[in-house]
């Protein structure tokens, strides 16, 4: 009798314990990707979702909500039911909507779960360029009238444009001293560099690999605090100029503001575990993406910092629709 009671009690205990554990997650989770299927962000999100499925034990479905230059998908993340079953894969653009007047959402409106990627911008020039290092380039840019030199490889107000402008400013140069020739991504930018139409291309280091191997371009500096493992010969901005500077584009998991703290904790741990796994690192390295992992608290600080930095630099460039 006693043993039976004990067994029943144990069973109840186990069941209730199991139920408590099964509280979250107990059904498939949707991960909103604000860019089209097949793109870079989509690829990273799908690998991350695959890893999260293993960690959380439920399916994690990538839902592409492209359009409006990612405004639509990002707005949907904020409007989602905060039950933890709809999350978002936020990208660097979310810090610009407020300043560009595209939406009223600030970077600080997003609930940070974890940052998983950061691609540092790099300063590429043609192999026939007269500049052999970034210091010489900056002095030359400073000495010549504004607009003498042109930069491309990025669109107006895109992450690499802002990184480049920030880099000039950090070195005491007016961010408008070098004129941006907008381009749709790195590839047309490098072609323009090869054709002699521009002086600088700003893109990540892996995006320039093909042109470096073809002997048509060389990177002078990378905007990161430490050298990039795959490109050990490229100096950091700090090493090349004496002024440390980091800038580029990034991706991370975010959610709506009212997310339950317990649920958020579970998600944060799972994302951090996947982002630190060898499989994820190998994938990112193969595809030319940089891995930078920040936990929720650090990612929150990062978003707040992004919000102010982007506001200042967009106002400097004259492309902001709102004052700081």
């Amino acid at each position: 009798m006693l043993t039976r009671l004990a067994t029943t009690a144990a069973t109840i205990f186990v069941l209730s314990g199991g139920a408590a554990l099964a509280e979250y997650p107990e059904k498939p989770i949707s991960l909103i990707v604000p860019w089209a299927a097949g793109g870079g962000t989509d690829a990273v999100a799908r690998v991350l979702a695959e890893g999260l499925k293993e960690e959380l034990g439920v399916a994690v479905n990538v839902v592409n909500k492209p359009g409006g230059g990612s405004v639509i998908g990002h707005s949907e993340m904020l409007a989602a039911n905060p039950d933890g079953y709809t999350l978002g894969f936020g990208t660097a653009e979310l810090a610009t909507f407020y300043w560009a007047g595209q939406a009223n959402t600030k970077a600080t409106d997003f609930n940070p779960i974890a940052l998983v990627n950061f691609d540092s911008g790099a300063f590429h020039v043609s192999t026939s360029s007269k500049w052999s290092d970034v210091k010489a380039a900056l002095e030359d840019i400073k000495a010549q009238p504004a607009g003498t030199y042109k930069v491309t490889g990025t669109g107006t107000g895109a992450a690499y444009h802002l990184a480049f402008a920030g880099f000039l400013k950090a070195n005491g140069i007016d961010p408008l001293a070098v004129t941006l020739v907008p381009s749709q991504g790195a590839a047309p930018g490098f072609q323009e560099l090869a054709a002699g139409g521009v002086d600088v291309v700003l893109s990540s280091l892996p995006e320039g690999t093909a042109m470096m191997q073809a002997g048509k371009s060389k990177p002078l500096a990378v905007f990161s605090e430490e050298r990039i493992a795959a490109f050990p010969d490229v100096p950091t901005a700090g090493e090349a100029t004496g002024t440390p500077f980091a800038g580029g584009t990034w991706r991370g998991v975010v959610g709506p503001q009212e997310l339950d703290p317990e649920v958020k904790k579970t998600l944060e741990e799972a994302v951090l575990k996947v982002a630190n796994s060898e499989d994820f690192k190998t994938f990112m390295n193969d595809k030319g993406f940089g891995v930078r992992v920040l936990d929720s608290a650090a990612f929150g600080g990062f978003l707040a910092e992004q919000h102010t930095q982007v506001g200042v630099i967009m106002n400097d460039l004259g492309i902001a629709q709102r004052k700081e």
């Binding site: 089209a36 299927a37 097949g38 793109g39 870079g40 839902v63 592409n64 909500k65 492209p66 359009g67 409006g68 230059g69 405004v71 639509i72 707005s75 560009a100 007047g101 595209q102 939406a103 607009g147 042109k150 491309t152 669109g155 107006t156 107000g157 004129t179 941006l180 020739v181 907008p182 381009s183 749709q184 991504g185 590839a187 047309p188 490098f190 072609q191 323009e192 090869a194 054709a195 002699g196 139409g197 521009v198 093909a210 073809a214 492309i319």
Partner: protein, 502 residues
């Protein structure tokens, strides 16, 4: 060589081969239904292609269009009406040959020569495109600006009977291309505060609206007309005899070369290639009097040319990223959505993918023969499917496809709006192709124009002082002003006698 093997590895994937087979069946089906074009088949497939890998997506489009191009000949043979406009040139020949019991010389000939034309075009693409790409690597935004403008201008001139209507359709397309965030300043244009319009008007939705929904509207208004029933039987084996194929060798080779070259010209696609090749075959034919009354020579020349033109149209698409017709406009759209910017750098950065495209072309044209024979037998059943069953299914495909791409209801409104607009335009003989090219190339023209002006510090002379840019610029101006000048000269000549009298 390793790039060729890499390309082969990309194609020999179960998902790529499977999608090729499915899209082949779909292309044959759509091509067979009179009134539904190869472009419509591709437009309906885009939402599916969109979810696939880049190579599978391109394989889908290439296979589907090659199949639809041949399948257009089937109703031509049985019903005396072309399944796609590209079969119009030799429709009567096909029908008269089948009536005379010579199925092998009609459908068999067109099947084999379509496959040969596609392969010939692919070979020219394989050797020609990389050479052109080496040359194009030094192109800057000035050259691209002129190239895109020239493409737009030529496309508009050859589309439809009335150039003025072509220009009007083009300007609507250009207007749609302006909607969204400004490329240089990031300012919103014509968005009316609608977030969904910030990235511009969705290209896929416009395609589906313009080429599929508008056709359904047109069908809906004419559905009371009696549905034609095929009355002809297949009496002979469906393949041509080897010796009659050998007799047509010159027409096939000539048709293949003419077709590829015409396909590579911007604006002139498979329809024009078939007409030109038909006319040239007639000049060189042994029995020119049979043309229009059942000439196997005419069928061989023109059926080769329209499939070769499909391959040829990929030359400017891959090398310059400038589509020549509405199908390759879709290809460019899909590639960009997939994060691949077509242009000379594709040959450097994605050599394996370019090789995969060649292999897909060869493979698609090879499987055309067995699948085509099947289609000839099944074709008589397919073309008698009732409109009441067929068209609702197509409507469902249109709406589902447009929604599935971005999971956004807003796209359906664009499909509806464009569908109604293009239907009204086509009822009044305004061509739709310039609208699509305007939407795709409008952005290319604007972005390269703005980039060029920024690089040149606002100096317009830079558009002409690079040698290639200068030549292209003058060519464009000639295309624009030639009709005006000839018009004025004609007018002055006709006025002369009146002036003499007064």
């Amino acid at each position: 060589m390793t790039a060729v093997l890499d390309g082969l590895a990309l194609v020999m994937q179960p998902d790529v081969l499977l999608t090729m087979l499915i899209s082949a069946a779909f292309g044959l089906f759509v091509g067979m239904v009179p009134g539904l074009s190869a472009t419509m088949a591709v437009a309906l497939l885009v939402p599916v292609a969109f979810t696939l890998s880049p190579v599978a997506a391109l394989a889908t489009i290439i296979t589907c269009s090659a199949m639809a191009m041949f399948a257009g000949d089937i109703p031509a043979a049985f019903l005396r009406m072309p399944g796609t406009p590209a079969s119009a040139a030799y429709t009567y020949d096909m029908n008269d040959l089948v009536r005379a019991g010579r199925t092998g010389d009609a459908l068999g000939m067109s099947l084999v020569s379509s496959a040969l034309g596609g392969i010939l075009g692919a070979i020219i693409l394989m050797f020609g495109a990389p050479l052109l790409a080496d040359f194009a690597i030094n192109f800057s935004s000035y050259e691209y600006f002129w190239l895109a403008l020239l493409g737009l201008s030529c496309a508009t001139l050859v589309a439809g009977d009335d150039a003025l209507k072509g220009w009007l359709s083009l300007t609507i397309g250009l207007f749609l291309s302006v909607v969204g965030l400004d490329f240089v300043t990031g300012i919103q244009r014509y968005t009316f505060g609608i977030t969904n319009l910030q990235a511009g008007v969705g290209f896929i939705s416009v395609m589906i609206g313009a080429f599929a929904l508008s056709e359904l509207f047109r069908k809906a208004t004419t559905s009371h007309q009696a549905h034609p029933k095929p009355r002809l039987d297949i009496t002979e084996r469906p393949l041509p005899r080897l010796n009659s194929l050998w007799q047509q060798r010159k027409h096939i080779v000539r048709g293949g070369i003419i077709g590829t070259l015409i396909g590579a010209l911007p604006g002139a696609g498979a329809d024009i290639a078939a007409w030109v090749s038909y006319a040239i075959s007639k000049r060189f034919a042994k029995q020119p009097e049979l043309f229009g009354r059942g000439s196997a020579e005419g069928v061989a020349g023109a059926a080769t040319a329209n499939n070769a033109a499909l391959s040829g149209s990929y030359v400017p698409t891959l090398v310059f990223g400038i589509p020549g017709d509405s199908i390759t406009a879709i290809v460019v759209g899909v590639l960009i959505l997939k994060g691949i910017q077509p242009g000379p750098l594709v040959f450097v950065n994605s050599a394996d993918m370019v090789n995969a495209i060649y292999i897909v072309f060869l493979l698609a044209n090879l499987i055309l023969v067995p699948l085509g024979i099947l289609a000839i037998y099944l074709g008589r059943t397919v073309i008698s499917i009732r409109d009441a069953i067929l068209y609702p299914v197509i409507l469902l495909l249109c709406l589902y496809g447009a929604y599935a791409v971005s999971n956004n209801m807003f796209e359906l409104w664009i499909v509806l709006g464009i569908g109604i607009l293009v239907w009204i335009m086509q009822e009044n003989n305004y061509p739709a192709a310039p609208l699509i090219l305007g939407l795709v190339l409008g952005q290319v023209v604007e972005q390269n124009f703005m980039s060029s002006l920024i690089k040149a510090d606002g100096n317009f002379i830079n558009f002409f002082n690079r040698p290639i840019a200068g030549v292209l610029g003058i060519l464009t101006l000639v295309v624009w002003f030639y009709p005006i000048v000839t018009g004025v000269v004609k007018k002055m000549r006709s006025n002369e006698p009146i002036n003499d009298e007064t």
